[in-house]
Amino acid sequence: MNAKTLSARDMDFILYEWLDACQLTQRPRYAEHSRETFDAALTTARQVAEKYFANHNRKGDENEPAFDGKTVTLIPEIKAACDAVIETGLTRAGRDYEQGGMQLPHLLSQACFSWIQAANVSSSVYAFLAQSAATVIEKFGSADQRQRFFQPMLDGSFFGTMCLTEPHAGSSLGDIRATADLQADGTYRLRANKIFISAGEHDLADNIVHLVLAKIRGPEGVEPGVKGISLFIVPKFLVNDDGSLGARNDVQLAGLFHKMGYRSSISTAMNFGEQHGATAYLLGEAGKGLTYMFHMMNEARIAVGTGAAVLAVAGYLESLDYARQRPQGRAPDNRDPRSPMVPISEHADVKRMLLEQKALAESALALCLYSAKLVDDMHTHPDASGRADAAAMLDLLTPIIKAWPSEYGPRANDLAIQIHGGAGYTREYIVEQHYRDNRLNPIHEGTNGIQSLDLLGRKLGLNGGKTFLQLLVQMSAAANAAQKNETTAELGTALQQAVQRLGTVAQFFATQKNVPPSALTANSAVFLDFMGRIVIAWIWTWQATTAANALRHNTADKDFYLGKLQAARYFIRRELPRTVQQAELLMTLDSTCLDMADAWF
């Protein structure tokens, strides 16, 4: 295999040494599992990733979907890739045995999926998005809707979409204009213009089931704000009682978006109900549309974070390989022009760029997989309080899980380009595509700006601040553990101080009762970066402890663990100190941005 995607060694470290995935097999749901079944699933994922996804990563980038006004054309490799993940059961990995699933813990499903994402993130969209949409119908749909739509989506014969965004309402979903009118037969006629809809049109499946946010029109029009939003099932083809396809619904592809990256994933503008109104079925209760959609959001956001993290890992591995092979220059202490040039991986400045990538990429992936384990705890932790705590912790961390990897994943990719020199700026090398693909991640699934508002405005105060305190306690315990070990004491001490800093800043925000919200939220992005930085320092300190312990008995793999320790040091010595300045800025409620008048730009 040529493409560098992920490190199997690091994946094993994260899953088995750091997160102790095998311990999950003690829970009844996973009782039939063992390290062997976990590894077998990972092997299948990796093989499918290499053969069916990595094979057209570049080709898909160079041949974006085309629309001739009537039909769209995708490169054929996308269909083969979708079929492969459906046939091997990767799309149903976590589902019940009775549903054709493997009852794999979410941690392992996410790890399997990350191999696919690393190989070709944009082609991974279709089949996995279909499964997310399917789950919404499974959870909130009627028995008839489950039979008619969920079942064929589960087995892969129907795909699905999520239609939220409109031209004038992206972040601001409360302002959508899509409408739905109740008919005598209990169905609705839906009218909407939706944009940026991923997988909105293709011929990868027999039918496409759109989940559309719209507002029901009553006698007084629609209810303003998010309370008025309902969720509808709008299939491309109606489905007869016997499961066969019926009439073509009033759903039309209006056009395609031409993106800088993520190109083999088709992005569509969809018009619903241009002629007589699209036939739509209300999902669950009226007015609960966003709640239902957000039910899937935590997991979707972990997937975005993971996608950003694995692209960072892929770029790191590519640039490491390149740096080891590219001779250029000599050591600063060597003045002999006749001596051979050395690989650039030997220059301190290139090591800096490699180490920064390693420090950003591996911790981002670790954070995402840690959060996948929270999903498992949320569903299968043996006691109720453990389940509730995990759910709350996931809620609290979600803005960081989504935003940190997507902010710093592209930064890592930027460094990979830099290491490639002029070559990195050409399309002959994959690192420029990694960057373009990754650049989507700060934008979709709630922009990072919106994530920062969510963190500061809602998540910090979750359960009266109890969850946030639990996080502080957990991070402090990891710092303590590190302080006890000579190898990691320095890291533990720095983390301990940072945790106090985070507590102080949060306390400060909690006690600002007489300030308008605008003054508090003005630096939300700084707060997200500040807290994200400390969370990542925690991840690194915790991993460093695991590595230091392993070094005591595992001498065969010394370099791997020493590498972990060095990356931890890099982050804590060079990235964490920025939180000192950030804390100062936050606690003065700096208003430089807020005070900027439009006319001054």
């Binding site: 079944t37 077998a40 499918v48 091997t88 059961g89 045995y97 699933g101 493997m102 065969a556 793999d557």
Partner: protein, 249 residues
């Protein structure tokens, strides 16, 4: 018809192996292991025969360390029905062939499929030895296999092109790379494989002595490739191939 497939646990094909410090072999500490790729093709062929209704039962046999259970489980996940592991680390081809012969005598398969060679030792011996020991006809380096009317037609990849042989069943087929494209173990089948029977035996159960008969004197990494040279004429090239490289006569 029962089909017996032999599978071997070897270093994963993507791993770059290193010579062990004592020069007695390759360093296998912390190295990823997998089913020998030619054995994967053998399993796939058996599964296809079963899907076509030609085979009724697929038995996979591995001679190897305890961990070779993983490779048997993989074969079971791909569609084999039961497995036998004969625990013997580092058994040499003749010992493996003798063990397999004993199992063939007990199980009486209609067809035995092996890989043409395993990518660790690259010996290319077990299939041929097993055929000789059991007296079965052999179709090695198969790129196409057709079973009908108590016979198997095997298309073989040979130096000059393709050769087709017809063998009476029971027979032995060893697989070449182009025979088929192996599938991947689907996740539900990985779980089902756990419930399929897997017997663990020892070489002594079959009265086979696995003591090595071939001694490895020394293992060395291949010499680093020297820089090439440009030749001016075809004649010069031919002369060099003849006199220096000695690869033609």
């Amino acid at each position: 018809m029962k089909v017996l497939v032999a599978v071997k646990r070897v270093v994963d094909a993507n791993v770059k192996v290193r010579v062990a410090a004592d020069n007695r072999g390759v360093d296998l500490t912390n190295v990823k292991m997998a089913m020998n790729p030619f054995c994967e093709i053998a399993v796939e062929e058996a599964v296809r025969l079963k899907e076509k209704g030609v085979a009724t039962e697929i038995l996979v046999v591995a001679v190897g360390p305890k961990e070779a259970q993983e490779q048997i489980r993989t074969a079971l996940a791909l569609g084999a029905d039961r497995g036998i592991l004969v625990e013997a680390a580092d058994a040499q081809p003749l010992a493996i062939a003798k063990i397999l012969k004993a199992i063939v005598d007990q199980e009486k398969p209609g067809l035995v499929i092996t890989g043409k060679q395993s990518i660790d030792g690259d010996n290319n011996q077990v299939g041929q030895m097993l055929a000789a020991l059991t007296g079965m006809g052999q179709g090695t380096f198969a790129s196409e296999v057709n079973v009908a009317d108590g016979k198997v037609k095997v298309t073989r990849e040979i130096d000059g092109g393709l050769q087709t042989v017809e063998l009476k069943l029971p027979a032995l087929v060893s697989t070449d790379l182009r025979l088929n494209e192996p599938r991947y173990a689907s996740l539900p089948n990985i779980m089902k494989a756990k419930k399929k029977p897997l017997d663990i035996k020892a070489p002594a159960d079959f009265g086979v002595d696995v003591a090595p008969r071939v001694k490895t004197v020394k293992v060395e990494a291949p010499a680093a490739r020297k820089a090439g040279i440009k030749v001016k004429t075809v004649e010069e090239l031919v002369a060099k191939l003849k006199n220096e490289a000695k690869v033609i006569q």
